[in-house]
């Protein structure tokens, strides 16, 4: 468990952010530029010190009142927006800088593993100047991991990169997520990155925490602005059940329902992340007949809200009993009125398309 609270008046900006997040998995600090998320991350690293702050990592207090562990005594890894490699050292020496100094701890992260995971072996003897942006950031991530952190802090590690380099790095970050048990706090203002990587979401605005909780819950919370975005989506942890090779479909279970997803998603029991755009979900009273849409899930309407004059965002819970995962649907106000939907109604949600978040482009809907 990570407990953090930082408060200060910084000029006219008032920061007062507190949250409690799991001591494992990826937590995204998400919010618009200037909402204070980077300041919070710097405070967690000890790079900034606010007098009124508290930070405990899995029971170990790093800041409380006059207690303050300086950054070099905190077992953290920090990835900055720009790679910030030491220009006077080779890639290898950059990687070894923290590794050597962390020797006192038992090396939980092996040098060769990190090098393989990030694919940076062939860059070893080059000066950082001669690397591409994406390569530099991969080395910076490796350097941070090799310092044997018990907490990895990442400050928009992709935002200084072009689209191409981003796509180059994201798969590596996802592999990290799977391969390491180190908790990660990831600052981002890009919701698609968050949907891909995060397990927990801390939503910030104007120096305050608006919400903190599991990603699925925060994305589909009617009280929060995320569900109102044009690109609003929900994310499920989907467990692979059976693969139908003849039709090229995989049946997965999500909390409260089953989905058919195109492609072979791996062995039974594998967990994959599936993202469903609100605009890809339509609603009906009955199970559809005579349709090419394969995925029709019973669900219960929790709330409906006008997003624009003519468009509704419907908050659903999967399962006939409404006990399953949250789902968002974007429908026209005319449909809402014509069908007479109301909170509590049992409906059937038809999912026209979905994407595995670890695929670059959305998979076509199984139709």
């Amino acid at each position: 468990m990570i407990t953090a609270r930082f408060a200060a008046a910084l000029g006219s900006f008032r920061l007062d952010a507190g949250f409690e997040i799991p001591g494992s998995g990826v937590t995204a600090l998400f919010g618009p530029s200037g909402c204070g998320k980077t300041t919070v991350l710097r405070c967690m690293a000890g790079l900034a010190r606010l007098a009124d702050g508290y930070l405990a990592i899995n029971g170990e207090v790093w800041q409380d009142g006059r207690t303050f562990t300086p950054p070099h005594r905190r077992p953290i890894g920090y990835v900055f927006q720009e790679a910030s490699l030491f220009p006077h050292m080779s890639v290898r020496d950059n990687l070894l800088y923290g590794f050597k100094r962390a020797k006192a701890d038992r090396p939980a992260v092996a040098f060769d593993d990190v090098v393989d995971l990030l694919g940076i072996g062939r860059l070893f003897d080059r000066p950082p100047m001669l690397l591409s942006g994406g390569e530099r950031q991969r080395v910076a991530i490796g350097r941070a991991l090799l310092s044997q952190p018990r907490l990895l802090l990442m400050d928009e590690p992709l935002s200084a990169l072009d689209r191409f380099s981003k796509d180059d790095i994201l798969p590596y970050l996802e592999r990290l997520h799977g391969a390491l048990s180190i908790p990660v706090v990831y600052v981002s203002h890009d919701i698609t990155e968050v949907e891909r990587l995060a397990d927990t979401l801390v939503l910030m605005k104007d120096g305050k925490v608006q919400a903190a909780g599991p990603l699925q819950d925060v994305l589909a919370d009617p009280a929060l602005p995320l569900a109102r975005m044009p690109q609003a989506a929900t994310v499920f942890a989907a467990r692979v059940e059976t693969v139908d090779a003849a039709y090229g479909l995989t049946e997965v279970t999500v909390p409260g329902g089953r989905l058919l997803v195109p492609g072979d998603l791996g062995a039974r029991g594998t967990t994959r992340r599936v993202r469903v755009l609100a605009s890809d979900v339509s609603l009906g009273r009955q199970a559809p007949v005579d349709t090419t849409i394969l995925n029709a899930l019973p669900a219960v309407i929790l709330a409906g809200e006008a997003t624009t004059d003519h468009q509704m965002t419907v908050f659903l819970a999967l399962g006939a009993d409404g006990q399953g995962a949250r789902l968002l649907a974007r429908i026209s106000r005319k449909s809402w009125d014509t069908l007479g939907f109301a909170p509590g109604d049992a409906v059937v949600a038809r999912v026209k398309g979905m994407a595995l978040t670890d695929q670059a482009s959305p998979a076509p809907a199984p139709a």
């Binding site: 953290i76 900055f80 220009p87």
Partner: protein
């Protein structure tokens, strides 16, 4: 052509410059670091004091040093020694003060140019502040150190006013190059004055040229 007396002068001058440069690097580095990193309100007052010898007439600086180094001065009493005036040690002290800005300012600028990021990176990689200083700050500021050392050395070689005031012209002890040239001219030994002057001219050109070459190379290597 170059007689033994001249070699003695050149040797003494180089020795003075070498001692002064080493002393300046040892004293100037922490001072430059402090000036580059502190937020103290009196930072620029200290900065101005360090830079003062750039604009102060050497004779003024030399006069005050002479007063401070005289056998009867309070400073000498406190230190409990003989006065440093008209001694090699006195020259070193005077040169250190006189050449201070030429060493401190380049190093300070180099430290400032690093910015805070590399230091923060080092801290997050478990390097203590002292460790960071020697493994990150100093290597990244190396062009500044080089410039500072070369300028400090060359500036001490060419020093005249301060030496004249506190050193006099004692052969083997305080008679350095610039003083010797002055003496030769005074005594109408123009050929000797020519020889030493031409030597200084070539030396100065080489120093500046070398420095520009080094800065260009280091600057290219450390560019981000």
């Amino acid at each position: 052509m170059v007689e033994p007396a001249m070699w003695e002068i050149i040797g003494l001058t180089v020795r003075l410059a070498a001692f002064t440069t080493v002393a300046l690097l040892v004293l100037g580095t922490p001072l430059a670091w402090w000036l580059a990193r502190t937020n103290a309100w009196y930072k620029e007052i200290v900065g101005a004091l360090v830079a003062l010898p750039i604009v102060l007439p050497p004779t003024v600086l030399g006069f005050y040093l002479l007063v401070a180094m005289s056998p009867t001065s309070p400073l000498t009493q406190i230190l409990g020694g003989r006065g440093l005036a008209f001694s090699f040690e006195g020259l070193v002290v005077g040169s250190v003060i006189y050449s201070l800005p030429f060493v401190v300012n380049p190093i300070r600028n180099a430290f400032e140019a690093i910015g805070t990021r590399p230091l923060e990176v080092a801290a997050t990689l478990r390097a203590s502040p002292l460790d960071t200083f020697f493994t990150v700050a100093v290597p990244l500021a190396s062009p500044g150190f080089l410039t500072g050392a070369v300028l400090g050395f060359a500036h001490t070689i060419g020093e005249f006013g301060v030496v004249l005031m506190i050193g006099g012209s004692i052969p083997g002890e305080t008679k350095v190059l610039s003083i010797a040239i002055f003496d030769y001219v005074e005594t109408l030994q123009w050929d000797k004055a020519h020889l030493l002057s031409a030597g200084m001219l070539v030396f100065s050109f080489l120093v500046i040229f070398l420095m520009m070459l080094i800065e260009k190379r280091l600057g290219g290597r450390l560019a981000r």
